[in-house]
Symmetry: C2
Subunit: 526 residues, 2 copies
């Protein structure tokens, strides 16, 4: 096992995050390797002249990773297992019917009293390649932001020092969440190369269906609960603070998805001969959406806010301390206003949300035909906060729709059903999960904050919860383990949209953060 | 010129429309041909065993005819000119910068005192091939309705008698409007084959951009007004009555199109991190649409109905006489209700309409990503009635939007503009045209009704106006000619949608109707 070929040129510069970095060519034999791992295969050789971490990430990103694409998601799992085995990590692919494999690994640290379980996911959001500047599955390096016109440059042209910090790697999964996995593996490499011991035993759990709501994760956790036993769980996902400062987060919003279809005539009808006689489903859908949320993003479904857990005093204090970012964000996103009737972004993500993520009916622009469309669809995602449950939200939304005269069905209706109900709506609920917020003063929370502050000082942002969704509540419920979230991606990573990317400096600092935790957490965690 | 090869097997049966049909093999030399036409090329030979009219229509439909597809639209014009020249018709392609050619032809009838100008269009609506059961540009014959599971059958299997009446030919343009052109040419063939003289001189005007609102038609008419001089104009487009009874129509709604775009963040943003902070353009668009029309199709733009011309007593009487069709249509279209607060279809199409023909934002179903979309688009068509003008409608709609706080722009806004205006909307108006209604008691109107009643008896439906749009007002304004509309297509032709088709019986009866008019109109027109 030749680990020296992976000595992080990508971080081969002094990072502003504060840990002294040593580019080392030492070959360490640091980990206590289980016997089975001694014959692990060597990692694939990096392309000539390309930074090894960048090369490893690019290779990983070249494998399409939409959860529904079973053959490719399995290739991802196999590839990731190979990367781990190449580092002498004991790896298992945990299989569960209908689910992508969970890639599990562990490393024992001699003398460590605590075990840290690290979670990340290797699947990515669906893509619409037509809307990407480059193919989502062909990683390309740009010498800056695409939006600023930065050109594609060869992978081997990345400067080692700060000159490369603002460069970005573009591909689906670059930031959400393959980049994080590679950064974590690179942190292990760095500690080994530098001869620094792990301060905690490490278990790794890499999931392959996070972006579709982790429908099998609970079964997997229950089936292997002994394997996953740990003293703390670190979820590695999401973006750092918009100020580009590192952050540690102790909760996340829950999520659930909904596809809604309303109906017009059984087939597209000439809008001249039948317009303002045949019911227009697009117009009906517009009215329906307006009944669900107002212009300020407030959800109009009766009872929707009833279950929301109020903020604690320490949570309010943490939110108060969070840096102000709105002005910069408005400029960056070309916005003149924000929803929420004047509330701060940090406050708003502590509230539940109803986001219209898609509308489709008939055609627009060159596809517009003068016809009454047969149906109109809206796709919605709900963001839940602590103490809301998907089941209760479903119930409230359906009750609301019924109160407005809609007939709710859960299977696509046939023509007979369409002939009977004047306001017929087909709802397809995606499995979702609730939110989670850990107490800010729990020992694990405090240890994380202490060891990170040691590494990055006052720049650390402590957030009670992330706006995005991670199945934290599930881990809490099934594994009864304290949980925190350590993101590394740049906030402007186009996560979930076209042209997802990872800023090189975030990759470099991510490796530093993980190395700091792995070496320092044990001592801070009494 | 061997005209006998085109003796309409497609109509080689006794039609219910009432004109005795004679399948004749006589070769006539009926038309007084201008010298230039004597050397016209022979028409392409029909495929072995295929009904010649069907073969001619299928060949024509195989040429894609979206107006924006310049090379193909030109192929259509050339092909049509060839079909006309093959019949000895004096043909000219009238060119106008930026427009598809207008195909013009004329035939002099010895002794005729009146000249009839016949209009049809050879372009078709845009297609979304993914939504078609068969390729829109590969005409296929089915032994019934696609919706009833009728299979594709060979073109040469069409029965000559009533057994083939319910068969249908599927392709873009089959009914709107190439089928009509072919029926008209076949009627000329039949009269010639039967030795029946034309009763009027005939001029033909076949346009190639009707489906995009005929933007150059006015210039073409003005440039060639002497050529188009006639005593009456017969527009050949649209469907027959929903009872499948033939109809003659004396007006049509006007039309105009509008593409609306509203804006969210400059790029798709993660709906967890930014949902209910970043303005959601899909939700804004929904509110906007709800401000434009209500659930019953009533337009909410202030002043929208002010210009509407009231119905005359004879128009009201004609509408009263029109057969009741709603119950059948509701069943056929799988609808449980209709817009219009209980008004009849015939009344409703005499009112203006606002139809949402398309919605697009982000993605739905497998393309749904948990993101706040950067923009949301709606595509709308307005149907106007007599005395409304596109300019006034534009003005009213924009004033309405401004009164709701929208900043209206007509060019796609840059990021700076998006940073300035909280409710920014980009409007792209398509050129449209007003409606038209001819007096029901004008001599041309009366002559048409009389000669058609002679052919089809009491089954003729007389309609004051069609719900669909034809640029009648333009002809009236520029050519000062009385106008009527003679449709032949089945009403259930999926016009403008996927799987457009022409019912064989409609093709057969269309030929009969045109033959009746061409032979009888002169005598009825004092």
């Amino acid at each position: 096992m030749n680990i020296s070929r992976r000595t992080q040129n990508v971080t081969g510069t002094r990072s502003s995050v504060g840990i002294p970095l040593v580019v080392s060519l030492l070959v360490g034999a640091f980990f206590l390797l289980p016997a089975a791992c001694r014959k692990a295969p060597a990692p694939p050789a990096a392309a000539e002249g390309v930074d090894p971490v960048l090369a490893e990430l690019a290779d990983f990103l070249a494998i399409p990773n939409v959860a529904s694409d079973a053959p490719n998601i399995r290739r991802n799992a196999g590839h990731l297992a190979g990367l781990m085995r190449a580092r002498g990590i004991d790896v298992r692919l945990l299989e569960h019917e209908g689910a992508p494999p969970v890639v599990y690994g562990e490393i024992a640290a001699p003398g460590a009293r605590r075990t840290l379980l690290v979670y990340a996911h290797y699947d990515g959001q669906p893509v619409d390649p037509a809307r990407w500047a480059s193919d989502p599955w062909t990683p390309v390096l740009r010498s800056g932001r695409l939006e600023d016109g930065a050109p594609v440059v060869p992978l081997d042209s990345l400067p080692e020092g700060p000159d490369g910090d603002e460069w970005r790697l573009y591909a689906r999964g670059a930031s959400d969440d393959k980049g994080t996995i590679i950064a974590f593996l690179a942190a292990l490499d760095r500690l080994q190369a530098d001869g620094i011991p792990l301060s905690v035993n490490v278990k790794m759990l890499f999931e392959g269906e996070e972006e579709v709501g982790s429908p099998h994760l609970e079964s997997v956790l229950r089936a292997h609960s002994a394997l996953f036993r740990a003293d703390g769980l670190l979820l590695c996902d999401g973006p750092v603070h918009q100020t580009r400062r590192p952050q540690i987060v102790f909760g996340a919003r829950g999520v659930m998805g909904l596809e809604m279809t309303v109906y017009g005539p059984a087939r597209a009808l000439h809008s001249g001969h039948y317009g303002n006689w045949a019911p227009n489903p697009a117009a009906q859908l517009a009215g329906l959406i307006s009944s669900l949320r107002d212009d300020q993003g407030k959800v109009l479904v009766p009872g929707y806010y009833d279950d929301v857990r109020p903020l604690s005093a320490s949570e309010k204090e943490a939110l108060e301390k969070a840096p102000r970012v709105e002005e910069d964000l408005l400029r960056e996103f070309a916005l003149s206003w924000s929803e929420g009737s004047g509330a701060r972004l940090e406050e708003l993500i502590m509230r539940p949300a109803l986001n219209v993520r898609g509308l489709l009916s008939g055609g627009v622009a060159e596809k517009a035909a003068n016809a009454v469309p047969p149906e109109a669809r809206a796709s919605i995602d709900f963001r839940l906060v602590a103490d809301q449950t998907p089941a209760r939200v479903r119930e409230l939304v359906e009750a609301h729709l019924r109160s407005l005269g809609w007939t709710v069905v859960h299977d696509a209706p046939g023509e007979d059903a369409r002939r009977r109900a004047p306001r017929l709506i087909h709802l397809e609920w995606e499995s979702g999960y609730p939110a989670y917020r850990a107490p800010l003063d729990a020992p694990f929370s405090q240890a994380l904050v202490r060891s990170l502050v040691q590494a990055v000082g006052g720049s650390l942002v402590v957030m009670p919860a992330l706006g995005g969704s991670i199945p934290m509540e599930l881990f809490d419920r099934v594994l009864s383990v304290p949980i925190a979230l350590l993101p590394i991606a740049n906030h402007d990573n186009n996560q979930h949209g076209p042209d997802e990317n990872l800023r090189i400096r975030n990759l470099r600092e991510g490796i530093t953060l993980h190395a700091a935790l792995l070496s320092g957490l044990g001592a801070a965690w009494e």
